[in-house]
Amino acid sequence: MEKISELIDGELEGREAQQQFARLKQDNELAQCWATFHLIGDAMRGERPLSQGFRERLTLRLAGEPTVLAPRPFASKRYVAYALSAAASLSAVSLVGWMAFFNNPLAPLPELAQAPNTTPSAAAQTPTAPLASVPSEGRMNEYLIAHQEFSPSTEIQGLAPYIRGVSSTRQDQGR
């Protein structure tokens, strides 16, 4: 299992790496662990939005695993240890993120806690049927630009608010 983590970290070269790749192809559990490690790495680096409930599912699965403190006669238990410590640092990361958020309402939410397509506020308090708000994704640029020129906030901030009108917020971009 250590080999896999070394492989992910790019510490193995040539023959040794080849060997591990071969093991990955044969061992289903190992392959799964490879995917999990990468997912954890991605999440920690905040590289892609995770599907909703990912953490719950991960936690559920981890909870189903034997704990690290139990005797471990089998090598496969070491994966559990690694994954658990990775999960521990993962929750530490999101905890730091949350603390930062609570200390400062303007710090962005950590990627994990974020559902990019929903604004709960949008549907609330409306006289008509609730309507979910979606990111405008550049479809309304001409209206935003036309509006901006009349907004007092433009008086205060100069051209900066125009960034809204040309902002590229497509969720799939830059990921």
């Binding site: 930062a100 609330a124 008509t128 990111p135 001409e142 007092p152 051209l159 900066a160 809204r164």
Partner: protein, 329 residues
Amino acid sequence: MKGAWPIVFVGLAGPLLAAEPTAPAASQDGLALLKKMASASRRLNYSGTFVYQHAGQNETSRIVHFVNPAGGEFEKLETLDGPAREVIRTNDQVTCYLPDSKTVIIEKRNTRRFPALLPEQLSGVADNYVVSVTGMDRVAGYDCRVVVLEPKDKLRYGHQFCAEAASGLPLRARTISEKNQPLEAFAFTELRIGGNFSRDQVRSRYAAKSKDWKVDHSALAISDVPADTGWSLTRQPTGFKKLTELKRSIAGRTAMVSHIVYSDGLAAVSVFIEPLPKARPARSLSHQGAVNIYIRPVADHMVTVVGEAPAATVMQIANSLEFKGVSGK
């Protein structure tokens, strides 16, 4: 940039959380600072890099603002991340270059821009927000004064600005939702105030390249003459007043569009009314940072309401819009 923000911003929330009911004197202080900010951003020469933060994303842009002593205000905004985009303002014309779609959008106004924050706008701010100067902070290496605008009701968002201590130039602006959630923030990360500028610095890099791009010429024909559009609100949200009402063209639209702007002194909500497109649009709500956009068909018209106000406010305006009579064409 991602991931750096929580660290950068930790500890900056003090002023916001510390916002207390303020004495009128403190409020006057805050209003005076707002006025100073508005004039500073138009009067000063400055260049810098700022970050626009919204929906957990960060976009970095470069901005140059230049006032020609011989007359004329020039400004250039250029995105540094993702697809290249540029906004150039020369006096009363705003030009957006979108190289991705090879499009140029030109927003031209025949009338002069509003002078920096009219007195009635400031009184609107005082009526609708609790304004307080809460302390000092530091942004992009400059000491700045923090002004907090706490909304008096749920119809508008909260704001927090940090204005450079000496000049009053706004270095950071944040918008906070009715649920006390961050919506968007602009903040300089690097800035130079003053200095000599040349016209070249505020010229588009696409000026030559864009010759064969699609230009939304219709916007060039804007005649934003105040007009009675015949439309009005039955339930105008508290604190919002009509700022202007006009007929104009909108980039990419052939028909004239009625445009009515409502403002509470700080936030503005625009109502656009135009003939229904061939495909009748469904009701839809979308957002871009702190701006909510609501589209609603009304009889044989399409109504688009755009504003940096809560969705409920934007929708209230859209839903209470009524055609009251023959418009003066």
